[in-house]
Symmetry: C2
Subunit: 459 residues, 2 copies
């Protein structure tokens, strides 16, 4: 039963399991105690810190273990912002960061701070110039992911770090998606990561703060982890996290090459086998194991459900918005199609045959979903000269786009189709459809009960 | 090798180990996902919540899992204080709370809140009247431990909860030390606990918030655990925590009786076998497995070191101050002797023979430490009429008290001995010595380089 959602959580690596079991016997005591059980726990913790620091590329005393990647991000951002409070309260993030970064930015803004969201290109990549231009004299901190969690696009971290350094601004890199593949290049100031993304156990995050970075831990005082991560250390999990990071790094180069080949196969085959698909994300500068595509006229949740029934576990959009009806903030920021979105992220060791079977199954699944969606009660269409109005009010994604496509051939070249919709996804998906079809997206205006989206037929 | 520091961290219970190993296979995926691995993880999480809620005595939807007891305390206090911000910003804690509570109170005070510390009796117990009198119209929250972590004294939680309820103030109970022994009685509003204290794994805390309690989670938004505990859930550890809580509860009654017998033996024998010892904490209303005593003229760190060499792992004072030179805030608040302090807390299953061997070894260990400390370079003593001055400036605990005891017989009844000391522990230990010896503690005054403590010989 192939699990293709490693970007959410990777299955536990065998080395993590072995290390965890071994450390359960030695690592349960309080490492602050001086008796033998405490000393043993301390030795394990120190060794894990050495190993993790080496993999991160920092000094052991620059690294603390948190209880999750989210905690590392929340603590790291709060500590860095407070440490530079005198400089100012301006924060820079990209528009495609993980929700933990964006939520921490939201808190900062609610407390009176200023936030600039740097936009991304259609590939999901920030421009270095865009980032550099956002830097201000009162910028306390800039944040940038090493690679995007939804579309796999790698960010120009080293170049952005250079720009930040030139401005004297610390850069926090959220390396949650990439740390298993290799160290983050360049002169970052803070780095965060999450062990369960690389096959380590749940319950462990990393927070590295380079010496010299002004840092003021927030929240109640606590003497654990240099005062940067409150609460009793989970040493067995920490040991397993460090051991598995080493293990995945040892196989990273070979596996990256192999999985990149499988992902390339998906990138090439899906658009051949499934009509009206957009593969999103940077085609070259990307994580080796992750590919995302969106299917016109299909509904992501149903596609996922059908793939699950066929034995494939994949994801759609951001994990943090999967239970909401709004399109993922990442796809929205990229301006790409969000409907029928599927993210495939292959765990280490994924077999070629599983990928091939996925490619066999997918076209039928999408076709089935489309077929069922393609026969809704026809929307009333009112013609006026050479224009048409499609009333899709009250209908959910992907119906508005399906209705648009159905009548589009009925207007002459130069004619206009107006779609009335109150579904948030239409705002993203109608322009994306125009982009894919080579038609002109004219714009939107509010109407009673929703929004009118105008599309001109140019081809 | 007997480990007698269960109050710091208990060895992993066999049931916790089994449950953890089983859940590693089923509980690594994201429980927010709808595919089979996610659904399995969600089932495990839900079942663990049911089991833990039953043991706590609350509804499953009132309980969330945090990453430590400290986190549960920090989040619980911050959320409850923010939820009642309109009522006021007054917080009540006892003076013997765990450092996590006191540090959160410190943060609240630093942010402009008001804090009342309710004092305790010499047994470490708060008086219900004292607590009730601290309640004010602007009190947002009161906090009280179920039992003290350093001396084992049980607090009158149900009575204090009644007083709080009458005043419309929520009571947060830190049940870290007692939850394994049984549910917390009475009408508490919030409850916190820590799994590794009952033999569960590290990395899991509990936070229960009763329906109807005003609660506003602080920090960046996060959809996990009802928005009350940010970060990816550590489901294998959560499963192990819930399973082991059930398991220890099943044996709690029998083990409590048995360990209470062993602790009674220590309470009786230590003062017989070791001269100049004060057993501290409530003799009756106490945790079954924990006993604490202080040895005059001995230094806690050295006693611990010698006991460790003899194979016994015990603790001294608060875990949170073991690396500092100041006496534990708990012993200070109780006004008892802090020097030569030893806490013995027996894990489940502790054998009678281990306790007996401890009782055999202890007298020699304390005598040895005292012997080595008893021969410091004699302090210059200047006589003035019927008074003596002991200059112990620059000398560390327990030397000032040893010097006092050595010369005390040299003044006549009614005479005064003044001890000059710059050691913080003297402030606690000289009055405590007077109490133990039936002599009169006159008081202290500042002098150049330290403090002068005056003691009158009355017997």
């Amino acid at each position: 039963m192939p699990y293709f959602d490693a970007a959410s959580s990777a299955p536990l690596h065998p080395v993590a399991r072995q290390a965890l079991q071994a450390a359960l016997d030695e690592g349960w005591a309080d490492p602050a105690r001086l008796y033998r059980e405490g000393r043993r726990a301390r030795l394990l913790l120190d060794a894990a810190r050495e190993a993790a620091a080496e993999a991160v590329g920092c000094r052991p005393d620059e690294l603390v273990f948190t209880t999750s990647g989210t905690r590392a991000v929340h603590s790291g951002m709060a500590g860095a912002l407070a440490g530079r409070r005198r400089v100012g309260r301006h924060l820079i993030v990209s528009s495609v960061e993980h929700s933990s970064v964006l939520h921490a930015a939201g808190t900062h803004e609610a407390e009176g701070g200023k936030v600039t969201e740097v936009p991304v290109e259609r590939t999901g990549r920030v421009s270095v110039t865009g980032y550099a231009e956002a830097l201000r004299p009162d910028t306390a901190l800039a944040c940038l992911q090493s690679a995007n969690h939804e579309v796999g696009t790698e960010q120009p971290v080293a170049e952005v770090a250079d720009a930040c350094r030139a401005a004297g601004v610390p850069l926090l890199v959220d390396a949650a998606q990439s740390l298993g593949w290799g160290p983050v290049p360049g002169g970052w100031s803070l780095l965060t990561a999450s062990a369960h993304k690389w096959g380590g156990p749940s319950g462990v995050g990393l927070l590295a703060v380079r010496k010299g970075v002004r840092y003021a831990p927030q929240g109640p005082a606590d003497e654990r982890e240099s005062g940067r991560a409150a609460g009793f250390e989970n040493i067995p999990a920490i040991v397993a996290a460090a051991a598995s990071l080493r293990a995945v790094r040892a196989e990273a180069e070979t596996e990256a090459l192999r999985l990149r080949g499988l992902v390339d196969r998906i990138r090439a085959r899906v658009p051949e086998a499934v009509p009206d698909v957009e593969v999103v994300g940077d085609a070259v500068r990307r994580l080796p194991h992750l590919v995302t595509f969106s299917c016109l006229y299909a509904d992501g949740e149903t596609v996922l459900h059908e793939l699950d029934r066929a034995g494939f576990s994949v994801s759609s959009g951001s994990s943090c918005t999967s239970s909401t009806l709004t399109p993922s903030h990442v796809l929205r920021a990229m301006g790409v199609l969000s409907e029928g979105n599927v993210r495939v992220s292959l765990p280490l060791g994924t077999g070629e045959e599983d990928v091939d079977r996925f490619l066999e199954v997918l076209p039928g699944v999408v076709a089935g979903v489309r077929e069922r969606l393609g026969a809704p009660a026809a929307s009333p269409v009112r013609a006026a000269d050479d224009s048409l109005i499609v009333d899709a009010l009250g209908k959910r994604c992907p119906i508005p786009v399906i209705e648009l496509a159905k009548v589009f051939g009925d207007v002459p070249v130069g004619g206009i189709v107006t779609v009335l919709s109150d579904d948030e996804a239409a705002r993203l998906d109608i322009p994306a459809w125009c982009e894919m079809r080579g038609q002109e997206y004219v714009g939107e205006r509010p109407v009673e009960g929703g929004t009118a989206y105008e599309v001109r037929r140019v081809a």
